[in-house]
Amino acid sequence: MTTAIGVEAVGIGKHFGSFHALSDVSLKVRPGSVHGLLGENGAGKSTLVKCLLGYYRTDEGQFIVDGREASIERPADADALGLGMVYQHFTLVPSMTVAENLVMSRQNVPNIVNWRSEIAGLKRFMETMPFKVPLEVQVGSLAAGERQKTEIVKQLYLQRRFLVLDEPTSVLTPPEATEMLGLVRDLAHSGALTIVIITHKLKEVAAFVDEVTVLRRGRMAGSGSVRDLGPADLTAMMIGEPHAPKNPERQGIPSAEARLVVSGLRTAPDAGRKGLSIGSIEVHAREIVGIAGVSGNGQKDLVEVLGGQRPAESGSVTVDGAPYRASRTESLAHDVRVLPEEPLRNGCVPSMTVVDNLNLRGFDVGPGKSHRSWLDRAGMAARARNMIAAYGIRTPSPSAPIGVLSGGNVQRCVLARELDGDVRLLIVANPCFGLDVKAVAETRTRIMAARNAGTAVLLISEDLDEILELADRIVVMHEGQVVHEMPAKGADPQEIGRHMLGQH
């Protein structure tokens, strides 16, 4: 086993042109501790970490690693010092086994690998680990929690003594997250390595983190021991306001009228994963139905079918009793809107302007839903100006390509566009993925407001907290099937988690 090292950052500054990503940021991480790095999106957390790992060069300040001043100019320098990182998105090769992934990640892989001795060496190494992962199993067949553990084992195998975990629980179920964070904390407290966790989730901070540093707009907003700081203090430091955003208020009860009915829906299997096989899902007016599930259990396929990106093999989708195939005519007639996950990738054209992107729904729609052949450029610009003002979209110019906007502002654009006018059915997928606290609260409030106004909402989310907060009814998906359905009120997260893992 290795021994943990401490890292100190003193007066770090980093700017890109005239934009100051970090100014005078200091950080002190004790060896063998779990340190939380908190902040909204764009607060500079990832810039700080990238400086430490040698992906960026700092403009000011210095790093002190293990008590000695360290010049980290390239990733290899960080590597030599024993600094490592586990990224939010997995970096293991799914088609290779765990053993192959581990050996491959080493710096000095011989041209001809003697697998027998490598496996023997790996087995000896695994004996020393506090948790085990199967060596000869393909990574692709591991559950998300196992994969995350493998990522951590890989870092330990590479002799890291200081490890940054970027949003480590975003793809895990609650039981998996609890287990993984517990293991990580025990590792740190055993003195084997030092952990920095980048996170938004205050509950995890309270339960598993020793000390925190909070960044806001590239500056230090505060730091201290978690024992002394309550969630309210942390939120205040993160967003600079004393009050945490309030949960959106639920008004009225779901009506009896079913807006969306999915029945007997099947899709073809895709890339080794099972296709959809959904018996029935109904969404009523003034109701949010939350679909919970571990990533990759068919939620994405369902959104793609409902959004017209994937054909169904059999079964029916009806909206207001009429068959629905997601054509432009049908979505216009029934006022069906979609908030896709990763809005820039799925719902916007990055190279086109903010004005154009705000008009993707309406560019060919004239008064009274008539078809328009010529673009009404003045009307498009006026509509875009209204949306920019109403949703507080921050853009350098309405004619800037939407690709230059920050994630939160892209999401605001998509919200503005999809919630504009009457919405009878709203399909939402992971709407808050990668957004900061303020943008998350705003997005959820808008969705709840749409529901309160009578919209039927189908919410597909990998964030169980989000579903518990917003949904009226919860449906759990596992391997393409609906395996459980329950009212959201009084639902037990642990029970939902078990269904998500297929333990019914």
């Binding site: 505060g222 959004g307 990055p350 110019s397 004619s399 800037a400």
Partner: protein, 369 residues
């Protein structure tokens, strides 16, 4: 460490002034980057010339004189640029949907052939009828041929680059088969050709201007296509599809229909070019149609970044290079392929210049945090 520090709250930055000059700078970027690429290609080509022991300055001087130096050379340039305007649209319009169609050569020769076939039974009626029949037949043939590539892409997900290239070979083979077979005029001995459409049915040069009749047609087509792409719902939907097909699907846009329409419009333009070449230059369909206009059109469309208006100056530029070819050959003793070397260098540097977009801060929007 149990002390708790709380830094003073950072006040919100003042509301930013909108960056009003940004759209202008963005347009400037779109103009300056291809120009820089052109300059780069000329620089590389100069090295090539120096290696051959020739002076780059003499070369540029001769290109200028050969392309624009006299009324004769201007006419020569326009004559070459006219079909290029239309074959470039054959790449630029599908290009708006993110498709790379490189089969324009087949569309132009088959369009010329179809136009000739349509004209032959009508040669004794009025020229206007002949011209109308030729234009319709040529465009329809080109639309069909490029439409095939679009259909393969949209329905069967066949890569359109490969499909249009292979269909281009097939189209040229079909053309040769007909021109050297059933449609051949037995009187055409050393250059197999179809029967002629008759001198009375030939298109004359444009009155007053005395330039190739394809010029006004090509310019009109470029303007119509620009309006179509930037001012209509069809064009908007096409640009959305080209920019991000997932977003287009999510908006329920009829992607298949858009692809077929754009390919048909592009192919129709190239087919029309073939019809005009027959009516204005050759009077019959023969191997002269297969002059590489379809391939040069690809280069022009990329130089113009698929913008139909930008196609116009680029077609003149490439037409001028072609027109200067003969002069270069005579005066500098350079081989015929020299111009192709230059064209190749331009194409490579244009493709490479794509990485320059967004590299220069000056062009970027100000005040994004």
């Amino acid at each position: 460490m149990s002390t708790t520090t709380l830094a003073p709250a950072v006040s919100n930055p003042p509301a930013r002034v909108a960056d009003v000059w940004y759209p202008l700078r963005r347009s400037a970027e779109a103009v300056l980057v291809p120009l820089a690429a052109l300059a780069g290609a000329v620089g590389l080509f100069s090295v090539f010339l120096l290696a051959l022991g020739q002076s780059p300055l003499d070369f540029l001087d001769l290109v200028w004189r050969g392309a624009f130096g006299s009324w004769f050379s201007v006419q020569n340039t326009v004559q070459r640029a006219s079909p290029l305007l239309l074959t470039a649209l054959c790449v630029a319009i599908p290009g708006q949907l993110g498709l790379v169609i490189i089969g324009g050569e087949a569309a132009i020769v088959l369009g010329g052939l179809a136009a000739t076939v349509a004209a032959l039974p009508l040669i004794h009626t009025a020229p206007v009828i002949v011209w109308a029949a030729m234009a319709i037949a040529g465009s329809a043939m080109g639309a069909f041929w490029i439409g095939l590539s679009g259909w393969l892409r949209a329905k069967l997900n066949v890569n359109e680059v490969i499909a249009s290239l292979v269909l281009s070979y097939i189209g040229l083979a079909l053309f040769n088969h007909f021109v050297e077979g059933v449609l051949r005029d037995p009187a055409s001995l050393n250059k197999p050709s179809t029967y002629g459409i008759g001198d009375q049915n030939m298109l004359d040069t444009v009155p007053w201007l005395d330039v190739h009749p394809g010029m006004p047609a090509g310019i009109a087509a470029c303007i119509v296509c620009w309006v179509l792409i930037y001012r209509t719902g069809f064009g908007f939907a096409s640009r959305v599809t080209g920019g991000n097909i997932r977003a287009a699907q999510l908006q329920g846009l009829p992607v298949t229909k858009l692809i077929l329409t754009a390919c048909a419009i592009g192919g129709g333009c190239a087919g029309l070019a073939g019809a005009i070449e027959v009516a204005a230059e050759y009077g019959r369909a023969n191997a002269s149609l297969n002059a590489g206009y379809g391939y040069t059109g690809i280069l022009i469309a990329f130089l113009a970044r698929f913008n139909p208006l930008a196609v116009m100056p680029m077609a003149i530029l490439l037409g001028g290079l072609g027109a200067a070819g003969g002069l270069l050959q005579r005066r500098m003793g350079l081989p015929d392929a020299t111009i192709q070397v230059l064209q190749g260098l331009i194409f490579v540097s244009i493709l490479a210049s794509d990485t320059l977009y967004g590299r220069f801060r000056w062009f970027q929007p100000r005040g994004t945090a």
